[in-house]
Symmetry: none
Subunit: 416 residues, 2 copies
């Protein structure tokens, strides 16, 4: 079954924005056993959008179109869809009322612009957008089914998962010579991408039915396993064998799979032992707290984080003695240990975690240059501090430092 | 001058690999004053590549094609280029010798496969690849100049910078009706995208030489101005006029331009008045601290943030009285005010900023459902608290709450 993708938006053609939507859809579709045959990106230009719609719908059985469904003058997709299908644009009353409601609830003024979002090609099936105002619609162009979704990633993903993929899956089930696929995303932390690649290379040779793909989401590195076979059972079996081999090989570097998030994995380990955590962080500036609190319900195990930039707050919030800071400096193993122990005591938490260091570009010393990070963990089984050096810019140092400290806690919680 | 892009490679269509090459080229080209008109991605399939080459070269004056120039059986680009141009594939002797040399130097066996990389369409101009074995070549297809470069990012970027862009720049200079461009990105906060559009629409009509584009980076909304004219001076002047008009219109909603970051803008306002800031945040879980500390040198004005999830830490780190929490609850105007005043006192800061609320999905009350946020600011001119409601999921509520609180401070600092 031929499936194509069209993305619209000037911002995708001038280097300002990287299209992360399409890889998302492509990966999900691939897991269903089908590959996108072609992708086109066009600007917010009427003729270009219409031409792309006509050419793709002439070749494919299904096309996913994203972007250009917003309320502004450069949102042209609905009218181009109507033009390509040869039907007029009409106002969809239920959508119009939904948008009016939403604005009323927020106390915002409803403008004529907003009504634009309720206009769809005549005959289109309109699907409610659970997370935004622009509706999704489905329109036949010739023999091709075209799915139109907003380009805002949150809305795109929700609609792709809940609406587009289930519909395509039903079409695929009717296909005669199907290839069956199964895939798994393995997520690692603490391994550079080149090491991960080198470690895994021998395994790839031992599992010829499985393709191994690598992607870096620094500080995480991900390994994608993709099995192909003539039946779903064979694909599942090949995948499982490769996955087990990877698990053995990667050990504690492997922190999660598929949709697991790093902060949530650490959180679930804390929850498992009904433990609580308090954090004292400086150079990471709240990143550890943010990683942990992304997860709903994190208040069960996360008590708080003292983001203590100034020395007086390291003293006040994390109980670090002024003399210790004077003797060893705020970026030291001693300061890290004292921060972890102090914040643990203040919050009456089971675990205290801390991180301090030089994110740069300014600061640092001869012994501890920019990129030097100290982190410490204290808990029922004792206290430990480590030093690590991260090359790279401020943002890289900050995010690697946050991951390194949380990973220290994760490893303690899983006992490695 | 119409320029298009074609990327080849199965891995770009199955979600395993995100195309980061094209945004690179697009951004560089845009800086030269030209925009890519369309991008296509096709798999390693002969017919698809030939069709993409033919359609793009029929429309455009220049096309950049990447991928499929390697030594393996699924590297089909050179033979497809020959087919699209209607010429045979020939072996390019200097390239063949270079590849043989390279293999000999590394002590690797030269296989028949490797000779594939020396085959190019007859008449093509071959350009040496400074960082890899696959050569770049340039082939006319009809009236269009097509640049073929490897897809390996390091090789792609080197050849784009050193070979493709200088050649396109020369073509642009010879354009009889050359268009000169100038652009500016205006960044707003506090305005929904549709309101921004409605406000700006009359201006767009008054500045016909300038295109107005919108892009949401929630909670920020961006307005891109792009002026086109027959000379650079005219483009610059048209841009400046539109920019001034937007500045007047948007007033305090406009927080920055181009590469300005929100946290850094607030930071520079604090620095300007040599002020310091302390924060107490709960539902935002460190996001305010993170926004502020992204900026190098933020320790000059940022003292710290008490990420106080647990009530005991709201008391200890932000001096909120237990009775107040018992009487009004932790999500209340009173708690927000007390947090701001308490953290300001503890840190001896000029400004104290706080935010508390229900991020969801659990929690909330009938009067204050999930999405309710209270935030407060205290400083030399007094204290003020506000209530706001954000619809949407946990992540959305958290990031809008962080922006709303920081924007409250920004507005106080600029005196609006």
């Amino acid at each position: 079954m031929r499936i194509e993708v069209i993305c619209t938006g000037d911002e995708l053609l001038n280097g300002l924005t990287t299209d992360t939507n399409s890889p998302y859809f492509m990966g999900r579709l691939f897991a269903l056993g089908e590959r996108v045959a072609q992708a086109q990106t066009v600007g917010d230009v009427r003729d270009e959008i219409v031409r792309a719609l006509k050419s793709a719908s002439a070749r494919a059985l299904a096309v996913l179109v994203s972007g250009g469904l917003g309320p502004t003058a450069d949102d042209l997709t609905a009218e181009c869809a109507a033009a390509a299908a040869g039907v007029p644009l009409v106002e969809h009353q239920p959508t119009l009322e939904l948008i009016r409601d939403r604005f009323a609830k927020r106390g915002l003024k409803f403008t004529e612009n907003n009504a634009r979002q309720a206009r769809v090609p005549q005959g289109a099936e309109v699907v409610r957008n659970p997370v935004g105002t622009a509706p999704m619609f489905i329109q036949k162009i010739g023999g091709c089914t075209v799915y139109f979704v907003p380009g805002v990633p949150r809305e795109y993903r929700a609609l792709v998962d809940e609406q587009v993929l289930p519909r395509i899956a039903r079409l695929l089930e009717q296909e005669p010579n199907r290839v069956f696929r199964a895939s798994r995303l393995l997520k690692t932390v603490g391994l550079p991408e080149s090491h991960l690649d080198a470690m895994v290379a021998p395994l790839a040779k031992m599992h010829p039915q499985v393709a191994f793909g690598f992607r870096t989401h620094a500080p995480e590195n991900h390994l994608r396993l993709l099995a192909e076979a003539k039946s779903q059972a064979d694909a599942d079996r090949a995948l499982l064998e490769a996955e087990r081999a990877c698990e053995t090989l990667l050990g504690a570097y492997l922190f999660g799979k598929d949709h697991d998030c790093f902060g949530a994995v650490v959180g679930s380990l804390l929850r498992r032992e009904q433990a609580t955590l308090a954090v004292a962080e400086s150079l990471t500036g709240g990143k550890i707290a943010e990683l942990i609190t992304e997860e709903p319900g994190s208040s069960e195990y996360f008590l708080g984080s003292a983001v203590a930039y100034h020395e007086s707050l390291k003293q006040r919030w994390a109980g670090v003695a002024a003399e210790l800071l004077a003797d060893f400096g705020a970026v030291s193993k001693e300061a890290a240990l004292s921060m972890a122990e102090g914040v643990r005591a203040q919050a009456a938490a089971r675990y205290g975690l801390s991180v301090t260091g030089f994110a740069g570009p300014g600061g640092g010393t001869a012994a501890d240059p920019v990129g030097t990070v100290y982190y410490a963990l204290t808990g029922p089984t004792g206290s430990e501090a480590q030093r690590v050096f991260f090359p790279g810019d401020r943002e890289r140092v900050r995010s690697f430092a946050a991951y390194q400290a949380l990973d220290f806690l994760r490893r303690r919680l899983i006992g490695v």
